[in-house]
Structures are given as C-alpha cells and as structure tokens.
C-alpha cells in the first residue's frame, strides 16, 4: 500500500470515470470475514512497534490489523475493484479507529466491511481517487468491539479510459 513505482509506471491500469466508480462501489458490502488474535502474532506485532508486548491486551494497532487481515476482500481484490493494482502505487492515506473496548489476545473477531465513499481529487502532482472502507469488528458476544475506517489513495496520473 505504499508507493512502489516511479512516475512512469503509475497509472498502468485503465480506470473508469468517477461517476462509474461511485455507482459501482459505494454501498458495496464485503463478504463477512474473521480474525483470530493469536498470542504469538500479538506478541510479534507489539514487539515490531518497539514496545514490550502485554500478555492479555492486544496492542491498539490490532483493530487495524484485524480489520485489514480479516476482511472479506484481500488487498489485491480491493485494488482491482478500484481499477488499480499494486503496480499503480496505491497508498494508505488515513486511518481511524474507534474502539468500544480493548481487544484481547486470544479472541476471534467477526469482520464486516462496506465501501462508504469514492471521490476524485486534483493534487499538486496529478489526479487521484480516494476510497473509504469502513470495517466493523464484533466480538464473540456479537457486540461491536471497534470500527475501523481506512482511506486508500489511488494515483490517476492520466485520463480515464472511459467505460
């Protein structure tokens, strides 16, 4: 999700008009997925952020990790839905997490998702699209544990191909 390409390679995938993308994607719900917070991954992820892992409370990053790893689309599929690919240099633009409670090591979360916004903007280096994906994490009791909102940036350095 980080920029992986230089200017020449950005925009290799033909993409539709913003009206078409919005009509196609806004409101689309992802297949329901799940994510289990294993003890070893909780330990490793916390350690990777350079903090001593807690044995019971998952690092607050786990709302993001559970959402992105447990959602019903993988990232390649998500990029394809936006007429893009990893070769086009999609980026991670914004992240919001609202937790109802701390996530626990060892619990399994049900992950639901919906595309909530698609917009096209003009930046200093060219046109780009923003896709907002809202993910819900529910615990084994069925109660919402966290809501995660990811905003992805899709560079569009050239004109749309049309539909």
């Amino acid at each position: 999700m980080d920029p992986t390409t230089d200017g020449e390679r950005v925009g290799v995938t033909p993409f539709a008009s913003i009206e078409s993308l919005r009509e196609r994607l806004i409101g689309v719900r992802l297949p329901v997925g799940s994510y289990h917070i294993t003890a070893h991954e909780a330990w490793l992820a916390a350690d990777a952020t350079l903090v001593t892992p807690h044995p019971e409370i998952a690092h607050p990053l786990f709302a993001y990790i559970a959402g992105i790893c447990g959602m019903g689309w993988d990232l390649d599929h998500l990029f394809t839905q936006m007429d893009s690919s990893s070769q086009d240099g999609p980026m991670f633009g914004e992240l919001s997490v609202e937790q109802q409670r701390p996530l626990r090591v060892g619990e399994t979360l049900v992950v639901t998702g919906e595309v909530t916004e698609v917009v096209r903007k003009q930046g200093s280096v060219g046109q780009f699209d923003l896709m907002t994906l809202t993910l819900g994490l529910s615990g084994e009791d069925g109660e919402v544990a966290a809501v995660v909102t990811n905003r992805f940036v899709f560079p569009r350095w050239r004109s749309p191909s049309g539909d």
Partner: protein
C-alpha cells in the same frame, strides 16, 4: 527478536506494559505535552515481522533489491502501521495502561525509511469527565529527521481514557 537493538532503547523506556516501570502521572491540563518517544534509527527487523503479521507482500518493506529495481533508496520503507504504533505507544506510556487508547485518527504524510530517526509528539487539546475516569483528547504526530531537516510523517488526533481521578 531475540536481541533488542540498542537504537530503540529510548523507545522502550517508560513502557507501561512491561510491568517493570512506573509511568509518570499525566499532567492534566489543556496544552500539556505528551512525553515524546524517540527512535534514533528505525530498524529493519521489525518491518519484516510486521510484513508477516499484516500479510503484506509488498517487498519495499524487506527486499532492498526490489527497491533498487524501482530506483528507490535501498533502505526498506517502514509500514505506516508501525509509524502509528510508535505514536500509540507514547500515549499508552503516558496513560500507564495498555488499553487506554480508545480512538485515533491519523493522516499519512510521508514515508519513514530504515535508519531514519523519528520522534513522537502530542498535546492535550480537551479534557472531559466520565464518572471517575477522565477522557483526554490529544493532537498527535510523528516527525522524522533531526533539526532543520525534520518533517512530519503523520499527524492526527487520539482519545485516551485515564482510569481514576487525576490531576
């Protein structure tokens, strides 16, 4: 990691999750600074670990050869979530409780490369009461580079719950 790199020692100081240190009592007033955490040189090993945890196949986080092919500096690019993690760790250390961060919102502004120095920052912007707890809203950020070359990598806000009456 079996061995803790010396360059991250400052990031692990005051770690409330270790159970070995006493977190400083948060100074509760609007405008108060969140104590900074500094990583003098972002290490590459944790990027590889996070790539596995995130199931992120992008080689820019672990394969310098792929970076060379892309005409990028041959220093792996840290995952955005790792950068967020440093900021969250500063809030958790300040609050003294691993589950204290209730919400956060960040915008990613730039990449962090292996070897970069980064420093977290934050400031209390609002305090509200909630029974015996206090709920604190903060502006947060992560800066990269020393001195005049310093630039902002991410910025946003966070909400932290401080258990029990304080201040």
């Amino acid at each position: 990691m079996a061995t803790e790199p010396s360059e991250v020692a400052s990031a692990r100081q005051g770690d409330p999750t270790s159970g070995l240190s006493q977190p400083a009592s948060p100074r509760l007033e609007v405008g108060a600074a969140i104590p900074a955490l500094e990583i003098s040189a972002v290490p590459t090993g944790p990027m590889k670990v996070m790539a596995l945890v995130l199931r992120d196949p992008n080689p820019i986080h672990f394969d310098t050869e792929s970076l060379r092919r892309l005409d990028l500096p041959e220093r792996p690019i840290n995952q955005g979530p790792n950068n967020v993690g440093y900021v969250l760790n500063s809030l958790t250390a300040w609050a003294g409780e691993p589950g204290a961060v209730e919400a956060f919102h960040v915008r990613f502004l730039a990449n962090v490369l292996a070897g970069d120095r980064v420093v977290t920052g934050g400031q209390v912007t609002e305090i509200s009461g909630d029974g015996q707890d206090q709920v604190v809203t903060c502006s947060v950020w992560l800066d990269r580079g020393p001195g005049h070359d310093q630039d902002r990598v991410l910025e946003g806000t966070a909400r932290v719950r401080l258990r029990g009456a304080r201040g």
